[in-house]
Symmetry: C2
Subunit: 478 residues, 2 copies
């Protein structure tokens, strides 16, 4: 610990109390490495404030002492966005003790949750009141509200409800000088200048520290229906999605999966079996829900809407889950793809998006171009078709040495994929953010106009560069 | 015209051609005064670029010569946001020649419209393809896409579809150095740092000049239903709204109107008549639509959902329009309120919002407090209950001299209303923006944290203060 860090901790000790300052390396260690073990840093202390006023004191002290902070929630970043640097210059600012659900108004469809509230807890609390928070993802048992807001998290229900950006009704945040921005009031119409809430969403803790958010709740689904569809191509899947969307608002997931990914799951994940009898080059998993118990059951709705698509040959086969257990089995296949493909050998994985209409072309022509450029690789994508969001994997040639391939070949393949995405007007980060992992790729590929704007905003909002430095973007020079 | 303005025009002449530079005062005059005639300024020239490249050249020249620009679309600002200052230092940058609908993809539900496209034209083009752009407002025949985006426009369908912020899928904008930010690609998931699209929405042309936007379209309604309801209080109206929203997504307008406003319309607008027989202290106008021709007709849906509210006394009376003509008559009452109330005498009008749950209290207790503070005045509000957006009018005492009242009393009443709104966590600008009219009130009432952030962002994005100076916020000193 540097002398100035010590002085900062001394100044904060009376404010935060003994639980608020952690300096035992053993207690800090789990939070210095990201959950996938790809990024490790070092922080001489972890600050754990329990209130907005305490966060404000921490940030003000950091500004006074010029000590950088790395805001952290559940530590589930996929891009090293919450991991400190290796030089020990930053302290971790953990928001996990700020875990109060300040209010939940089922009538208004609003909850005010502090940054440390875990996604699963929020949803459980909403369900008790007949509501739900319509965003879920794999890390729901660890991911916190502050992190979800700061990374504009996505998930499998974006098709119907949008990302966090569409679900956040207001935020409370501590800005870089320690001042508190109270923007929690949910105002459907508010035109008082630049929207600070929207600016802080997805800013990865580099412009301010989110301490609480007002979130939209929707009625809990009274009924759900899940279908598995076999079809010939991504283009057919997109045509099917548009038919469904023209007919109903009830579809909330539409996942596209290539045959190879289904086969990988069946081969590597015990207890899984093929949802449909025959062979199909592509599959989609569709879920629809209804909040109204008197509405047409979603399973019947899906069966009714899929029938004409079967008749006219748009799709080859389809099944509707006969039970909740069967629906869960099918979802398990979808959620097991990444693990199953990892079991098959090394692969470079990419979280990218392109305009929805271009996704079929990206999945077919893009994969072919990638395989042509890197002979022996196999490229394939699966994911949220309605969001234009594909998890695109480039698998190493058979027999490749994993360590060597990851070090020498994978980076080039990733740059190739990112160039392709950029050429189609897409995004090199669909839902995981930039963090430290994609910072240099963002700088390489973003237009000069975008890059200058990002750097200018960072410098304006965090002139001392004390909020999550080294992540997302470096500030413009003064 | 100053010598430097002349030099700038000389430099731009070969780029913009003769149609692109207007210097005849008679041609400029209509654009120097806002449409309600409340703000007048002076601009020695009006620049009318016809392409993004030309806008880029204009802004680059403005930066080089340090000449300020006032971006303008249909000139329908309610807060003087598009009117130049009186000193002649700024040139008008009219986007009206950029009026191409670049694309309209009904399948994807997306249109790319240039800044000068008029709202009505956009909607007409969408309707030809079975779609609609679900935002409308009084100025739809003049208001342009660029202005609608730049002011985050609202209107009467926000309840279901949100403001422009929820409908914009991307923007193209010229930033203050003349560089072009191409953010038109519609990417439902895109986490490449700070969301420049969201930052430019509602920025009133002070951070960049929007040249085009990608906008969401929804299926055109196949059917609509309109109901008029008489009830006892705003609290009952809110309870009714929440019942309707729990049962259906089909409600897209829910307008709350006090008896006095209905009476004003019936007294001053020829050909209007009361929708319901008896007397009711409050009224609501409800509209529901369905895109699916096979869905339950919205008029039947409304009748079915209103019946139990009548039975249990939540509402006193209700009628469902028997024809489109009747529905239009009812909407005419709603749209005539401002004119009718103006005919009754001077009033200070306010476009404000409070959290939806607090709106009944604001309408009753707030009005009473206002009348107590300014004896002889009558205060009343009407508007979009589901948005927390009330058009709140403070009517001068009977016999007050209009000129004197507007000059001496109205400003104090407005400050009182704004203080009240602020104390309830509301917004002093719900949908009209800040412009020049509310700039000082924003500076007076915004928290120091918010104000510092707004000024820092302005200074970062427009360091020379050449984009719509004097509107919204002044930049932080360097």
């Amino acid at each position: 610990m540097t002398p100035v860090q010590s002085r900062m901790l001394d100044a904060l000790a009376p404010v935060l109390g003994p639980r608020g300052i952690v300096t035992d390396p053993a207690d800090i260690a789990p939070w210095e490495t990201d959950w996938r073990g790809r990024f490790t840093g070092r922080a001489p202390a972890m600050l754990c404030p329990a209130s907005t006023a305490e966060v404000s004191a921490v940030v003000a002290a950091a500004a006074e002492h010029r000590v950088a902070l790395v805001p952290q929630g559940g530590n589930t970043s996929m891009v090293g966005g919450a991991t400190p640097g290796a030089d020990g210059a930053s302290l971790i600012l953990s928001l996990r003790r700020m875990n109060q659900l300040r209010s939940l108004d089922a009538g208004a469809g609003l909850a005010v949750a502090e940054a440390g509230v875990i996604l699963q807890s929020l949803n459980d609390a909403a369900l008790e009141r007949g509501m739900r928070f319509p965003l879920t993802l794999g890390a729901k048992g660890s991911a916190t509200v502050g992190g979800l807001v700061s990374t504009n998290a996505g998930g499998v229900q974006v098709l119907r409800f949008g990302t966090m950006r569409a679900l956040v009704r207001g935020v409370e945040a501590v800005l870089a000088d320690g001042s508190v921005h109270d923007g929690l009031a949910a105002l459907p119409k508010d035109n008082r200048g630049y929207d600070l809430t929207q600016l802080l969403i997805g800013a990865e803790g580099t412009l301010g520290v989110i301490t609480a958010a007002t979130l939209a709740l929707v009625p809990a689904p009274a009924q759900a229906g899940v279908a598995w569809v076999g079809l010939a191509s991504p283009a057919d899947a997109l045509a099917l999605l548009r038919r469904l969307q023209a007919a109903t608002d009830a579809v909330e997931s539409f996942e596209l999966i290539p045959a190879g990914s289904v086969a990988a799951v069946l081969a590597h994940v015990p207890g899984t079996r093929a949802p449909l009898a025959g062979d199909h080059p592509w599959h989609t998993l569709v879920e629809a829900t209804a909040a109204d118990p008197a509405a047409e059951p979603p399973a019947e709705l899906l069966a009714r809407l899929l029938a004409p698509a079967l008749d006219d040959g748009l799709i080859a086969d389809a099944g509707v889950a006969a039970s909740e257990a069967q629906a869960e089995e099918w979802w398990r296949i979808r959620h097991s793809i990444s693990d199953a493909e990892r079991a098959q050998g090394p692969a470079a994985q990419h979280d990218v998006s392109v305009p929805v209409a271009d996704m079929p072309r990206f999945l077919t022509e893009g994969a072919a171009a990638c395989e042509a450029r890197f002979p022996g690789t196999h490229a394939s994508g699966f994911g949220h078709l309605g969001d234009g969001n594909v998890h695109f994997h480039v698998h190493a040639p058979a027999g490749a040495d994993p360590a060597r391939w990851y070090a020498e070949e994978a980076p080039a393949a990733s740059r190739f994929v990112h160039d392709l995405v950029e050429s189609m007007g897409g995004s090199i980060s669909a839902e995981h953010g930039i963090g430290q992992m994609k910072r240099d790729e963002l700088a390489r590929l973003a237009s000069p106009a975008r890059m200058r704007a990002l750097k200018a905003i960072k410098a304006a909002m965090d002139p001392l560069d004390i909020l999550n430095p080294g992540k997302l973007v470096s500030p413009a020079p003064r």
